[in-house]
Amino acid sequence: MAWITAISVWLIPLIIAIVLVAGTLKRVPTYEIFVEGAKEGVKMSFSIIPYLVGMMVAISVFRESGAMEFFVSLFRPALEMAGVPAEIVPLALIRPLSGTGALGMTSDLIATHGPDSFIGRLASTMQGSTDTTFYVLTVYFGAVGIKKMGDALKVGLIADVIGITAAIIIVSLVFL
């Protein structure tokens, strides 16, 4: 599996080199064009702030008040009946809401159960196989000022349910 780590390390420098060499060959004024595009990046980061602040304050109020925990415990019996291990339930519910929250929970599960336990492997797979829907939605639509999201949220959340279910089934089949 060493090649996978090798690819990850080489990929970004390689992309940079290819872009710069290709730009030079095509006689693009590379540095000037870089600065021009980069300016846009600065503007964009600032335009995301209001969207992300609004969303993250709401989510942290929801979490810190104990409401999130309550809803997790509400869903727990049903999910356990469906074969979801109890330890993994909070992670499954928080994954779409909060990226940092989910990452913290994954580390915690790996620390307490061990990385090579069933729970550890399941948490690792779940963490890797879906992304934080609310974050993606807020950042991508926020940056370009989309106010009417249409079906985007529904689609994202349904995809999360599918992803988490798939993770549980696949890890059970492979490692149990």
Binding site: V19, G41, S124, I146
Partner: protein, 196 residues
């Protein structure tokens, strides 16, 4: 939809804090949440600035068009609304490839650029277009080949085989991406049928 969810998160949270007596935690949550959001955005400045600069060079050098030409057969089916050789397609493809290699930091700027191009295609409307929803669905399902963060956490906790979850992750991510695309299609057809 977003408005209702946003308000409910607050109201339910505050009611719960009242019952649980955790109102002091809610107070700190307001400021911590806001701070965390700004910290993330400040962190994004560095990445967005560099990648958008680099991507502008790639665009001028014709690399985005070359990339979209190679992967066009697949992308054309996923995004039928995008015209041939449009720059949006190049950004979408770079976004997808960065995601595949677990380079979330590189994927976000390209995803945002793609959204911008899609907005132009949609006449600058502030409503999400069909292609935007598809791109979002693919991103929330996040096609991953190498889950770098998870592998590093597993190493940290002394896993015998930190990369053994790569296979299950690829499978799970393939299923969730397929699920996302199908769900997206379903909602799209429901929308268009209602309009007819």
């Amino acid at each position: 939809m977003v408005n209702i969810i946003w308000v409910s998160l607050f109201v339910i949270g505050i009611i719960f804090a009242g019952i649980n007596g955790t109102m002091d935690k809610v107070n700190s949550a307001v400021f911590d949440g806001a701070k965390e959001a700004v910290v993330i955005c400040i962190g994004l400045i560095s990445v967005l600035t560099f990648w958008l600069g680099l991507m502008r060079i790639a665009e001028k050098a014709g690399l985005l068009r070359a990339l979209s030409w190679v992967l066009r057969p697949v992308a054309k089916r996923l995004f039928p609304d995008i015209p041939k050789d449009h720059p949006a397609m190049g950004y979408i493809l770079s976004n997808m490839s960065a995601n595949m290699f677990g380079l979330g930091n590189a994927a976000t700027p390209m995803g945002i650029k793609a959204m911008e191009e899609l907005k132009k295609l949609n006449g600058g409307s502030n409503e999400a277009s069909r292609s935007m929803i598809t791109l979002l669905a693919i991103n929330t399902a996040s096609i991953t080949l190498i889950p770098t963060t998870v592998i590093s956490i597993r190493m940290q906790y002394g896993s015998v085989s930190p990369t053994e979850i790569v296979g299950t992750t690829i499978l799970a991510t393939a299923v969730s991406t397929a699920g996302a695309i199908l769900t997206d299609r379903y909602f799209h057809y429901r929308r268009t049928n209602r309009r007819m």
